[in-house]
Symmetry: C2
Subunit: 153 residues, 2 copies
DNA sequence: CCTGAAAAGAACTTTCT
DNA sequence: AGAAAGTTCTTTTCAGG
C-alpha cells in the first residue's frame, strides 16, 4: 500500500469500469502494473467489492428512512442477532453501532411509508431489545456514496 | 425495464465485475443481450456508476460519524449552498435532507475525532444556517451498502 | 424491436527481460 | 516494473423471430 495504490484506489472507487491503460496514464505506470496492483488490492481485501450503483428513482417506489435505535442495555448477544437480522433484510441498507444520542442508526429503504412501518414493526418484534425507534424520512438524498477520503501523497 | 433487467441489476449491484456470460447463464439470455441491456441501463442512468468499495479498515485512520443537523429555517438557498459544500468535501460521504427530529443527516468520515471536529467546525462556519449538530460516533459498521432491494418477478 | 451467433476489436493475463 | 505474446472478454455485425 503505497502512494500509487492510493491513487489507483481513488480512481476505481469512483469508477471501477476504468480501463487499466487510462489509470496507468494518470498514475504514471504501465497498464500491466496497474492490473497487478488491482489484483493484489482485491485479494488483500482492500477492495471489498465492485458494485453497480443503481439510481433509486429508477426503481418504482423507493423511499429512504433513517432510524435511530435505542436498546435496553448493551446486550451483545442480542446485538449480534440484530446484526444478522439486518444482514438478511435487503431493506436494511446500512446499520451502524454508535455512541451518542442513539445506540444504533439504520438506513432503510422501502417502497412507501406503509412498507416501512411493516419492516420497522418486524424489526421491533424480532428484536425485543430495541426500546425506542426514532425515524427520519428522507425527502431528498443530497449526496450518497461510500467513497473513502484518500489523502493524496 | 422488465424482469430481466431487474435480474441483471440484482447481480451487478452486488458484483459488477461479473462476466456477461455468467450473468447470461443465470438470467437465461445470451451474453450479447446482457451487454446490450447493461449498456442501455447505463446510458439511461439506471446504473449511476460502477464503483469499487474500499474497506475503511485498510485505510489508516477512518472513523465514521453520523451527524444530525438542525437548521435555522428551511432556507432553500442556503440549503443548496450546503449541498454544494458537501459535494466538494470528500469527508462527507452521505447527506440526507429529512423530516423528523432533524432537518439533515450526514455521514462523515474522518481519521480521528480531532479531524472530525475540524470538519464539523468548518461545516458550521461556512453554513451559518446550521443551528445545532448532534453527533453519533460509529463504533462499528454492522452493515454498509447501497443496494436497492429489487422485488423479484 | 430484440434476440442469438459469429467475426472483429479491445482488454486482461501471462511470461520474459 | 515494462513489453510482447497469448488468452479472454466485449463490441460489432448480421441473420432470424
Amino acid at each position: 500500500m503505497d502512494h500509487l495504490d492510493r491513487k489507483i484506489l481513488a480512481i476505481v472507487q469512483r469508477d471501477c469500469a476504468s480501463k487499466a491503460e487510462a489509470i496507468a496514464e494518470t498514475v504514471g505506470l504501465s497498464a500491466s502494473a496497474v492490473q497487478r496492483r488491482l489484483r493484489a488490492l482485491r485479494s488483500a481485501g482492500v477492495i471489498r467489492a465492485e458494485v453497480a450503483v443503481i439510481d433509486p428513482k429508477a426503481i418504482a417506489g423507493t423511499m429512504t428512512f433513517i432510524a435511530g435505535l435505542e436498546i435496553e442495555r448493551e446486550n451483545y448477544g442480542a446485538l449480534q442477532k440484530l446484526r444478522r437480522w439486518a444482514e438478511g433484510c435487503d431493506h436494511v441498507q446500512q446499520l451502524y453501532y454508535v455512541t451518542g444520542g442513539f445506540d444504533l442508526v439504520a438506513i432503510i429503504l422501502a417502497s412507501d411509508v406503509e412498507a416501512y412501518d411493516m419492516i420497522a414493526a418486524a424489526l421491533m418484534r424480532d428484536n425485543p431489545l430495541i426500546r425506542r425507534m426514532t425515524t427520519n424520512v428522507v425527502l431528498r438524498a443530497e449526496k450518497v456514496g461510500l467513497e473513502v477520503p484518500l489523502a493524496e501523497e
